[in-house]
């Protein structure tokens, strides 16, 4: 039914391991590599349960339902399963579970969605149980073979031992029998203090292939007779194709077809370069409508109108903020804003689709949600879900771009339908990618804080004007359930939690709070950028520093005074401050700032140290971030995510997507600049896992980053940055 593509394939580490073993002595202590022998044994593997396949030679294949975009979930989930399975980590490999099989097997792998730093935390329970259940079944199968009680047997590193007689059987020897047993109803999970594989700094399973340049990404797919496609969408969001003159393009070398869809035009050719070159010669007229009038100025006017809307929706109300503000000894007031931002994944959007002669649809794509890709492909092709397979590849970056929208899958399948029987790999150009994102929303927030005579905040008010991600990405009926109508009669001002979070759920003890939200969506598509809603953390934590300054208090002391004993925000704030040496003397020309923000299941506090060059440029020297994620599955991938969040946050301080004539103007990395190696701060992650809950690591590290940096800029220069981006701004002048 499904086609084995030449590429990509599951990680192959044998070659590297042989080479590495021969080089010898180089492996960092504490790291160990699973050894995966790929030699065909002839004997067939056994699926002990949906998550675990065991080969007769004891190799264990762990199926992973979530996607891998660099965040390390692929390895972390395998570690959790292997931990409970008690197998030999050196014999473990991982592979993605099939979205098609998930449909056919009653969603046995659960959700495949990979976002919101959910990969580990929302599936850890059932994947660990799958590992533990398989272990018990393997032990039971060995006990049955020996005709002894399972309670006399134990398992370690894939070997089952009968205690009294010391007899041993390997997992590979009993897997086939174990699979026939009834799974246990309930299994006990190991305490994290007893972990041997989880919690350890193990090498990531996906790295050798990526270093060797093996084809693992969506863009690397090669199929027999495959053609390539490049697409053009309306430069103005929401525009439709009005007319197409493709005569010149069709005559160009290698061009097979020009596909006209409702909202895009694609050229199919025998190489991507030929397709893209011919696309430039297609004369397309677009019906762009009224959206062509939109610009940064109209968008800002829309947001500003939202702040003044008398029917603005109430996201949170505690006490009586307006009254407390009017009687406060001092009132601090400020307005903050941020621009739209693209995800700018290094791998552009890509989808390979193949409409088979029997109507079966096969798709290869870099997706954060294999099930969403499958349903979008099925709907586009007009076939039942069972008639589609999605081959999940490694993602060349995700950051939220490749989850909800699935525009690339709809396009890829639409193009393939115009070329039935022929696989077509559609890839966007960078320019297309930059101008057709689902952007981090632009927003405008106005805050007021009332201080009493002792400098304590007694009232906090925020008005938020921001597009709603959920309104754009979630289909109608579900949307109505998610966006709660908190203020009857103000239907357009419903609450999107991603637009109000961090302001509507402050950990600070402030007796009077009023947080209002004006949903103003505009025509620019918005989506889940890394840590959706993170801009509110920037506003809140910068504004708190303004309040601390007005109160004449140290930013750390000011915050700690508002955090209850035992609050985990307090714990991480103290941990970050201690690790960073808060309060110690800094060299001349260096400023220090901090921030604390919880989110994505975790608590994160950061301290940044910055300097400003003679020409007014910002340099972030150091970022200390303390995170309480409850548990830690792989400390090294957590550290990598802290580094990653710092760079993503840094890029977000500088870049912006600006709108003119209804279109995003930025087109490539010259006008959407990314940090380079010399811009990288020294990132220090302080892990303070307190247990009892599971938090994420893909996003929490970014939450305090920008506020800590901007607070450090203020500490150094006295300049308060309230409007982003920083690009082309001289911090010496402010």
């Amino acid at each position: 039914m499904t086609t084995p593509a030449r590429q990509p394939k599951s990680p192959q580490r044998r070659d590297f391991l042989k080479a590495s073993a021969a080089v010898g002595g180089g492996l960092v202590l504490e790291f160990s590599f699973p050894l995966l022998a790929h030699a065909a044994t002839g004997a067939s593997p056994t699926e002990v349960n949906a998550w675990i396949v065991i080969h007769p030679d004891d190799r264990v294949v762990i199926r992973i339902a979530r996607s891998e975009m660099g965040q390390g979930t692929y390895t972390a989930l395998a570690q959790l399963v292997a931990e409970e399975l008690d197998c030999d980590w050196m014999k473990v490999s991982a592979q993605f579970a099939s979205p098609n099989a998930n449909v056919r097997r009653n969603r046995i792998w659960g959700s495949m969605s990979t976002g919101g730093s959910q990969g580990v935390r929302s599936s850890q329970d059932y994947v660990r149980k799958a590992g533990a259940a398989a272990r018990e079944m393997l032990i039971a199968a060995a006990a049955a073979q020996w005709k002894v009680s399972a309670s006399e047997c134990s398992a370690d590193k894939g070997v089952i031992t009968h205690g009294p007689t010391k007899r041993k059987l390997r997992y590979g020897q009993v897997a086939a029998q174990a699979a026939k047993l009834q799974p246990p109803n309930d299994v006990a999970l190991r305490d994290s203090k007893d972990w041997k594989i989880a919690g350890k700094r193990l090498h990531r399973l996906d790295i050798p292939d990526k270093v060797l340049g093996r084809p693992v990404f969506g863009t690397d797919v090669v199929l027999p007779g495959m053609l390539h496609a490049s697409i053009a969408q309306s430069p103005v969001f929401g525009g439709k194709v009005k007319s197409v003159d493709s005569a010149e393009a069709e005559a160009m070398r290698g061009v097979k077809k020009v596909v006209r869809a409702e909202d895009f035009v694609a050229v199919v050719a025998d190489s991507w370069w030929r397709a893209n070159r011919a696309l430039g010669k297609v004369k397309i007229e677009w019906d762009v409508g009224a959206n062509a009038e939109a610009s940064d100025a109209t968008i800002m006017a829309m947001l500003r109108e939202g702040l003044a809307d008398p029917e603005i929706a109430e996201a949170r109300k505690v006490g009586d903020a307006p009254a407390a503000l009017s009687s406060a000894a001092k009132v601090v007031e400020a307005e903050y804003s941020s621009p739209y931002l693209n995800h700018a994944t290094m791998e552009p959007q890509v989808c390979t689709a193949w409409i088979k002669p029997d109507g079966f649809v096969e798709v290869w794509t870099s997706t954060q949600d294999g099930e969403a890709s499958l349903s979008h492909a099925a709907k586009t092709a007009g076939v039942p879900l069972e008639k589609v397979e999605v081959h999940k590849t490694m993602l060349g970056g995700g950051f939220g771009r490749r989850g909800g929208p699935q525009d690339f899958v709809r396009q890829g399948v639409t193009i393939a339908m115009a070329m039935p029987g022929t696989p077509v790999k559609m890839m966007w150009s960078r320019e297309e990618d930059m101008r057709h994102g689902f952007y981090r929303p632009a927003s405008l927030v106005k805050m007021r804080a009332g201080l009493d005579a002792q400098g304590k905040i007694v009232a906090f008010e925020a008005k938020i004007a921001c597009p709603s991600i959920l309104s754009v990405l979630v289909p109608g009926t579900m949307r109505d359930r998610i966006l709660s109508v908190l203020k009857p009669g103000a239907a357009r001002n419903r609450i999107d939690f991603t637009a109000v979070r961090t302001l509507s759920d402050m950990p600070y003890e402030i007796p009077n709070q009023r947080i209002d939200y004006a949903m103003r969506n505009g025509h620019v598509p918005v989506g889940f950028w890394r840590a959706p809603g993170q801009q509110n953390g920037v506003y809140r934590e910068c504004f708190l520093d303004e309040a601390a300054q007005a109160a004449g208090k140290d930013p750390l002391e000011f915050r700690l005074a508002m955090l209850k004993a035992g609050d985990k925000n307090r714990l991480v704030l103290e941990a970050a401050a201690k690790a960073a040496g808060w309060g110690t003397v800094l060299p001349a020309g260096v400023g220090r700032g901090l921030a604390v923000v919880e989110g994505f299941g975790s608590y994160a506090a950061g301290v940044a140290e910055v300097s400003v060059s003679a020409d007014g440029g910002l340099k972030v020297l150091r970022y200390v971030v303390a995170i309480d994620s409850g548990y830690v599955v792989n400390p090294d991938t957590c550290a990598a995510q802290a580094e990653s969040n710092a760079v993503y946050g840094l890029g977000g301080l500088y870049a912006s997507c600006t709108v003119k004539n209804g279109r995003v103007q930025e087109s490539n990395f010259h006008d959407f600049p990314l940090p380079m190696i010399g811009d990288m701060p020294k990132v220090e992650l302080v892990l303070v896992p307190t247990g009892g809950f599971w938090g994420g690591h893909g996003e929490p590290g970014i939450l305090p980053f920008q506020a800590a940096v901007l607070n450090a800029v203020f500490a150094l220069t006295g300049k308060r940055i309230r409007t982003l981006p920083l690009r082309n701004r001289d911090l010496q002048k402010g």
Partner: protein, 158 residues
């Protein structure tokens, strides 16, 4: 026909002389380890070696590459694994990994030119973009690959 020497093998290719080398490698030779990121020489994901020098293959035409030795990530150390790749694995450099083959090609060239690069040398030579933020580890891996104890000859691949 254009004759290209790629990873020590000669290929006769019926491609336009102006076709960028990147697309000859990817779509005509199925060497997909070299990546497309920007198409205008900004990101470095497409870095390959041309007569031992790092170039951005998205802006080098097939005609310009003819007669030169082209080395891609697939041919960097055949047989075996290059010490830079080994350092990359030891230091867990990649995250998503998409930019990493270009990074590695640039790092190999830097070490060829400057066996003991300083941080400033690294900042100057490593102009590749990484959206995941692997820069700290890129730097560590380059320094590690430059250190004498790691300078062992590549091992044989099965």
């Amino acid at each position: 026909m254009i004759k290209l020497d790629v990873n020590g093998r000669m290929h006769n290719l019926d491609v336009e002389p102006e076709m960028p080398l990147l697309w000859v490698l990817r779509d005509h030779l199925n060497l997909n380890g070299t990546k497309y990121g920007c198409g205008i020489s900004l990101c470095g994901a497409c870095t390959v070696h041309l007569d031992d020098k790092p170039v951005r293959s998205c802006v080098v035409t097939a005609a310009a590459a003819a007669g030169k030795r082209i080395v891609t990530i697939e041919g960097l150390a055949r047989p075996g694994i290059h010490r830079v790749q080994k350092a990359w694995i030891e230091h867990e450099v990649p995250q998503c990994g998409y930019c990493q083959t270009g990074m590695i090609m640039a790092a190999v060239s830097l070490l060829d030119r400057k066996p003991r690069p300083t941080d400033a040398d690294i900042d100057e030579a490593m102009t590749n973009l990484c959206r995941c933020g692997t820069y700290t580890r890129v730097r560590k891996a380059i320094h590690a690959a430059a250190s004498p104890e790691d300078t062992v000859k590549p091992a044989t691949r099965s």
